[in-house]
Chain length 348, copies 2
């Protein structure tokens, strides 16, 4: 298979972890006789530096002419109080590319069970797939500030269509998994949540083999810790998804392990869920696993399941052997970001 991949490495540790994902993809291409070509563009703080825009036209063009996007991380403290901020690039990119579905797998790796803040028996075999709506809700509704600056508002809005297109993906995924979808909302308070409930309940009839459950977001925040094994596919709106998926990311013991896919009708982007971690930049201590697993999600997206499987297997191997960056605290010798990448690429 031939794939043109846009690499938007972004800020902080973004470039160094993306490099390891590319190594893994190169190894796969070699092994399976695929042709992956990589083209680079700026995003986030790196793009503000160069273009004064965190998601410049050049970058948008490259994304639109590529088959997939490999994304690193975004965020730079030097822009913390600036008018134009790196995160705006992320939101603009999601919206302009129509990446409405953010998919995050949450798993507990056996070799890392004791790294989790949760007790091992609660998390062993946890396997959750979170479907978060990514281009609507309070993120993109009208925002206002009064002239005197003493009042502000954010509008949360949803249409049935926006809910349906994501819900279909979630139910389809559930069919291939443990046949359960949990809708997380706040239907006892929010009108948008009631729209989610109505829409998803109606649509669920087309998937009779899938069980639909409802959970208020406050309760979900508890259940995620008390009994994460109860979840199979989670379906939720943008802001609740942001909170619940980050909370869920602690289960596996490290946020440095969780990849994600952001999918739209036309484009697809793959990125680790961790941030740009500025303090770690260019120290060789950033964990590349989440970026490498994002590359595996990219392969799956194109139906290259065997290839993805090999990456996943190589990652498990590296964890089992303790070939990991210091954040996982497995071995005492220091193993760098790029050493982990090399091990995984060699293994492939």
């Amino acid at each position: 298979m031939k794939l043109n991949i846009a690499v938007l490495a972004g800020d902080g540790i973004g470039p160094e972890v993306s490099d390891q994902a590319i190594k893994a993809l190169d190894a796969i291409a070699l092994e399976f006789d695929h042709k992956f070509s990589f083209n680079y563009a700026k995003v986030g703080g790196a793009a503000i530096d160069e273009y004064g825009d965190p998601f410049p036209q050049e970058t948008l063009e490259l994304c639109k002419t590529s088959d997939a996007i490999l994304f690193g991380a975004i965020g730079d403290p030097k822009y913390d109080d600036a008018e134009i901020r790196p995160e705006q690039g992320l939101l603009k990119m999601r919206k302009e590319l129509g990446l409405f579905a953010n998919i995050r797998p949450v798993k507990a790796f056996d070799s890392l069970l004791d790294k989790s803040p949760l007790k091992a028996h609660l998390i062993k075999d946890v396997d959750i797939s979170i479907y978060r709506e990514l281009t609507g809700g309070i993120y993109f509704g009208k925002k206002e500030v009064s002239q005197d600056g003493n009042y502000a508002s954010d509008l949360c809005e949803y249409s049935k269509k926006e809910i349906e297109r994501l819900a279909h993906l979630a139910f389809k995924a559930a069919k291939t998994r443990r046949q359960k979808v949990t809708l997380i909302d706040k239907a006892n308070v929010l009108e948008t949540s009631r729209l989610w409930r109505r829409t998803v309940t109606e649509l669920s009839k087309a998937y009779p083999e899938v069980k639909l459950e409802y959970l208020y977001v406050d309760n979900a925040a508890m259940q995620m810790i008390l009994n994460p094994k109860q979840f199979d596919v989670i379906l939720t709106e943008n802001m609740f998804g942001d909170i619940i998926s980050d909370e869920a990311s602690v289960i596996g013991g490290s946020i440095g392990l969780i990849p994600s896919a952001s999918i739209g009708d036309k484009y697809a982007l793959f990125e680790p869920i961790h941030g740009s971690y500025p303090e770690a930049t260019r120290k060789g201590i950033a964990n590349p696993i989440a970026a490498i697993l994002s590359a595996a999600m990219l392969l799956e997206h194109f139906g290259l399941f065997d290839e993805a499987e090999i990456i996943n297997y190589a990652v498990e191997k590296s964890l089992k052997l303790g070939i990991t960056t210091p954040d996982l605290g497995i071995k005492h010798e220091e193993i760098s970001t790029s050493k982990v990448g090399d091990f995984i690429a060699d293994f492939i």
Copy 2:
């Protein structure tokens, strides 16, 4: 001291746990020569049954003429799909009584460390006080549904004044504690969050001894599990407070242990944070500790610190001796809701 206390026991297990709180208050009155009188009114499903309104005028009147309100729990599955729902009573009550500050202490009891889903070393000595805004934000902004039902919206709004009055309480509390306030928001996305940041940053200058930190809500949801000891006072808006405080409630091993106070300029209400737990109603298995600790918060509110201290001490004693309801799973013999209440009252 003479106190007129309105008892709004509400639905499900509300009445039985409230009874235990009253026992404790009666014991305190006897011991310290106070006069506490209790007057009862309906709220929630119980009030819909009788008045067709989850927060009827009679109940409002009683609240307004009382010194404090002891609240049980609200929610009844039989109204799940009804037009008028029990939770509306809760929101109406908060708004009409101006209860803008919801305060929830989160502690890990030493005798329950092994009941927590989190590892003991992470939670030992956790002592957090959450200040959640309770009468604003997306809970009370304008809600809309399109005529065809295919679009819905909820408006999140805040004014500087709403933020300031809560922030002052949080900073004052921090002064008497470990001098740290963590503001939880989503200032990288929401205009209202940026208003919170500006307002709280400005106001913090009046409390130079208190350290102010900022945390995005998604990161906060992780930090609460990874390292809850970092928190002293948490300050946040209504919806984020709902989610984060419920998440935090798992730390102590049981939601049945966490009391809360909802305070306004004129009125003050005290309630366990758990819900009405319909499946447990009248089985004698509901944990009364949260309700009893809410009574202790009531006493503190009126400056009766010694009295509150004794209740807290009695609760710790009951936990240590294993005189607890089955949910805590400490002893094998079954000890009922009212036996726990009796033990605590006798101890006092």
